[in-house]
Symmetry: C2
Subunit: 415 residues, 2 copies
């Protein structure tokens, strides 16, 4: 079954926004086993939109249109699609009531007349409720083809797709597609792929596919099945096998859980406080950990120690260490981590010292050389890295490597 | 003159990558005065790519293809385009020499045979050197139409467009389009637009258009002219007028300069050291300042003080202040900024304390309430903000507001 995406909006054609909806929908459709051979973007122009819809319906089974469902005159996706299918547009009482309720809750009832435009629905269309806005999703079916109209704002289209569109698409196919994300750290991408090469070769149902993410490896396990329960049963042996091979290097099998969330959870479980002492990452490591709502129960304070003086005074790094080995050295990373834990009265500490670039490199200590220290209950481990990216990339990788190192050391620690 | 974009690559159709090239090219083309009515994406499939190119050439003057110029068999953009134009493909000695030189420098000479594929060029095509990779850009002209083939990696396509493609497109038109970005902080978006409403209404050549960016306002001044010098002359009165109205709230007129770079520059000029004391932003403010290479000359150390204890112990915030007014209060922000400057021995300090959400809000202190303090040479100013976004957004806005506040106070300070 083939699907085609049409993004509607002049702001896309002008490059004012990046079309993240297309990537989102494309990925979701691929995961549902649909083949997508075409994506296009057109403006809010009747003639060109009509041509685009007709072309898409001529070559694909399902056409997903996003955007152009707003209340203004510019928004014509619904009207043009109805025209292509030869359908009248009529007011839908259910949608009208929902819009009324939405405005009562969100805008204290201030509805402008043009909002009622969004209650108008093509005859015979399936109405998909919008729980995050006023434009409903619409599905028009005819002759084994379907046009699915979705609102443009990412915070509306995504929950609508997850909640209703994915299951609609799954029902169109003899078997639905279900998947699980197994997220792994502490193993390099190519090593991880080698470790499951046999599983990837032998795969039929479920299948296994790697996804690279800065410093992590994610494997998606995908099953075709008649129901979610059947899919779960099919996926379980594969997930179990991955656990057998990667063990506790798997930090989650939940789509939405991030590495920093898993680590904050681990710290909470073990009832440990963590701190950070950063040189080249300059606050990004702390910023990432503190992305997690509620991280305040495991993180009380941290330090950005750019200068040698700060490393000495705040963290207690010895002057001789700095003189003899330099600020970018395993010895300094060691003392930074141990000193940070002490200064913050924390059970665990991460330290990062390195040369992010573009300047500051030497032959002995090139740009990209980073030392990361991790102290848990007085035990300090230091790792050396040579990153080869831009300043941004080197700092990003340093942050992920530091988090990974902390997780490894936390798992070793039994309270 | 119309332009159309075709993005080539299965990774786009599968949603594995977000198509930022399309947004980049669309914006650049719009700035050059070209009209873009269609964007599309197709995979590395001969038949569908051929159809896409033919359709695009049938309705647009210029077709820009990105991606599919790599050395592998999958990469077929050049071959299919040459077929559409009926051109042979032959080895280009100049490109071959460049590839040889590139590998000598970057990969110690390790060329694999398939790399020579990238030296093959359609007959009569204009070759555009790639200074960041091995695939040259190619332009094929015929009957007043042109196909422009560009490499897919953003770090190759962008410099190639800036360096050579923009001027090529400008030459196709009777007058070229040139522009300048005037970047403003400390003025809200709608106020800034009101302040120049007359200029925007009266505009012909140059034109003035606002671009919103988190916490900043950018105005693009665009002129049509026969040469860059003529454009400069046309734009100067408009830029002067903007300076008259916004004064030192304009922090740069250079496309590439960021707010944090402008501030680091200002600190260097005034020979001042800065530090940061962060609660809800948790290191992101420091991380942003330290994005700037060479920031180490103006930033030596900083603090993440999440807990009350850390605010007291590290920054010297008085216990009574925390007890009486709470951690999220103007009084605490004041003492955090003053205390941070003292602790770090810095001339200037920024403090941020607030409720980023989603939890932690009360009726008196709702989610989104943030106090930012700025201390320069002992003078402290505190500002109150109510942000209304997600945790991420609230933290991002806090960072920009803090930077803006610092800039304002630095400008007041005469050493």
């Amino acid at each position: 079954m083939t699907v085609e995406l049409i993004s509607v909006g002049t702001e896309i054609l002008l490059g004012n926004i990046v079309n993240t909806n297309a990537a989102y929908l494309a990925e979701k459709c691929a995961l549902l086993g649909l083949s997508c051979y075409h994506q296009s973007a057109v403006g809010d122009n009747e003639e060109r939109l009509e041509d685009a819809i007709k072309l898409a319906l001529s070559r694909s089974d399902i056409v997903i249109l996003s955007g152009g469902l707003g209340p203004t005159k510019d928004d014509i996706t619904k009207e043009v699609t109805a025209k292509v299918f030869g359908r009248e547009i009529k007011e839908d009482a259910h949608t009208k009531a929902r819009i009324q309720e939405y405005f009562r809750q969100v805008h204290s009832g201030q509805i402008t007349p043009n909002n009622w435009k969004q209650a108008m629905v093509p005859e015979g269309a399936i109405v998909v409720d919008n729980h995050n806005g006023t434009a409903p999703g619409l599905i028009i079916e005819e002759n084994g083809k379907a046009a699915i109209l979705l609102p443009g704002p990412p915070n509306e289209i995504k929950p609508m797709f997850e909640r209703d569109i994915a299951s609609y698409l799954n029902k169109l196919q003899p078997e639905g597609i279900y998947s699980k994300m197994v997220k792994i750290c502490s193993v390099g991408e190519s090593k991880a792929e080698t470790m499951v090469a046999d599983l990837m070769d032998a795969q039929t149902n479920p299948t296994l596919a790697p996804y690279a993410k800065t410093g992590e490896v994610h494997f998606r396990v995908t099953a075709r099945a008649k129901s979610e329960e059947e899919a779960e049963q099919l996926m379980k042996p594969m997930v179990d096998e991955l656990y057998k091979r990667f063990g506790d290097k798997i930090y989650t099998t939940e789509e939405e859980v991030t590495l920093e969330e898993a680590i904050v959870e681990l710290l909470k479980e073990k009832n440990l406080l963590v701190t950070t002492a950063e040189s080249c990452t300059g606050g990004l490591l702390a910023g990432r950990l503190l992305n997690v709502p509620g991280a305040s129960s495991v993180y009380k304070e941290g330090y950005i120690t750019y200068s040698n003086d700060a490393k000495e005074r705040i963290l207690g790094v010895k002057r001789e260490t700095l003189m003899e080995y330099g600020a970018v050295s395993p010895q300094t990373a060691y003392e930074m981590a141990a000193g940070a834990a002490k200064a913050a009265g924390a059970d665990a500490a991460l330290s990062v010292t390195g040369i992010a670039g573009p300047g500051g490199g030497t032959k002995e200590k090139p740009v990209g050389l980073v030392y990361i220290g991790c102290c848990v209950k007085g035990n300090v481990r230091v790792e050396e890295f040579y990153f080869t990216g831009s300043r941004d990339k080197n700092r990003d990788y340093s942050v992920v490597r530091a988090l990974t190192l902390l997780r490894e050391e936390l798992l070793k620690h039994h309270s």
